[in-house]
Subunit: 161 residues, 2 copies
């Protein structure tokens, strides 16, 4: 029987930060969260930009989602708040079960444009999810490979204009 | 006998773009360069933000280096032009020969601060090259793991100030 995958916001605490270590894209962001928690700069169980999927009590998929304010929008017309999505990752034993798709659909449910900078070799997945390659602009994108998704009524900004 | 590794600017042409395909971090940037060349938006042999090392006639190492203007500097004090370095990569058969180091030293020779967003598991290399982890700031860094290098007289900007 299929059950709907539940996507939930992840709170900053030692258990979650320990679970984050199982993901390949563990980096400065998680280290900073750990330091902030250890030095009481953030409260235990404060909000994080991460959302995840649990299998039983184990975190098996996650993504980071951050609302970028309209004044920093260089991707869309009209300029507006958009979501930056990164670190979308499903642990190896839990792939092919739709968890990645559930996370992206959760992100789309905000009805805001989305920008992501995917890792190499994940373009097929993003294409299936309706994302398209943003026109590359070296000054804006530097080392990134931006992919974007737009709800209706939103267009890509013309970087050559 | 040791010879000094020669780092040279790479020009946009079909030969170079074909050689770029051998590098793992081939992405939107290279595809955009190819499209621009095919549609005559750029001239053959125009400048690219890439520098490389040849072994005989084969490109075996490369990096992209871009000068970010002071008004966009969110990393250093005083705010100033800095170099964004990305896609530093040495082809597998040519590793351990100092080509990566030669490229980074070439970047340092501009005497500007450098920012890079390294791939996972390359931190030891960057530490040896004198780079340090920038204090993580979610709004500024999003999914990045910024590492920075500063020439004397430059300091990291305090993101909490």
């Amino acid at each position: 029987m299929m059950t709907k995958t539940k996507v939930q916001p992840l709170l900053v605490n030692y258990k979650t930060l320990e679970e984050f270590k199982r993901f390949k894209e563990y980096g400065n962001q998680e280290l900073a969260m750990l330091e902030d928690l250890e030095s009481n700069i953030v409260e235990n169980d404060s909000e994080s930009p991460f959302y995840g999927v649990y299998y039983g009590s184990a975190l098996v998929a996650r993504m980071s989602l951050y609302r970028v304010r309209a004044k920093y929008d260089n991707y869309f017309v009209p300029p507006q708040d958009y979501l930056a999505l990164w670190k979308l990752e499903v642990l190896p034993d839990y792939r092919g079960l739709g968890y990645g798709k559930a996370l992206v659909e959760f992100a789309k449910s905000f009805e805001l444009p989305i920008k992501t900078n995917p890792r190499i070799n994940s373009h097929d997945f993003w294409e299936k999810m309706g994302f398209q390659k943003a026109t590359y602009d070296v000054e804006r994108d530097l080392g990134e490979n931006p992919l974007i998704w737009m709800p209706s009524g939103v267009e890509e900004r013309d970087v050559n204009a």
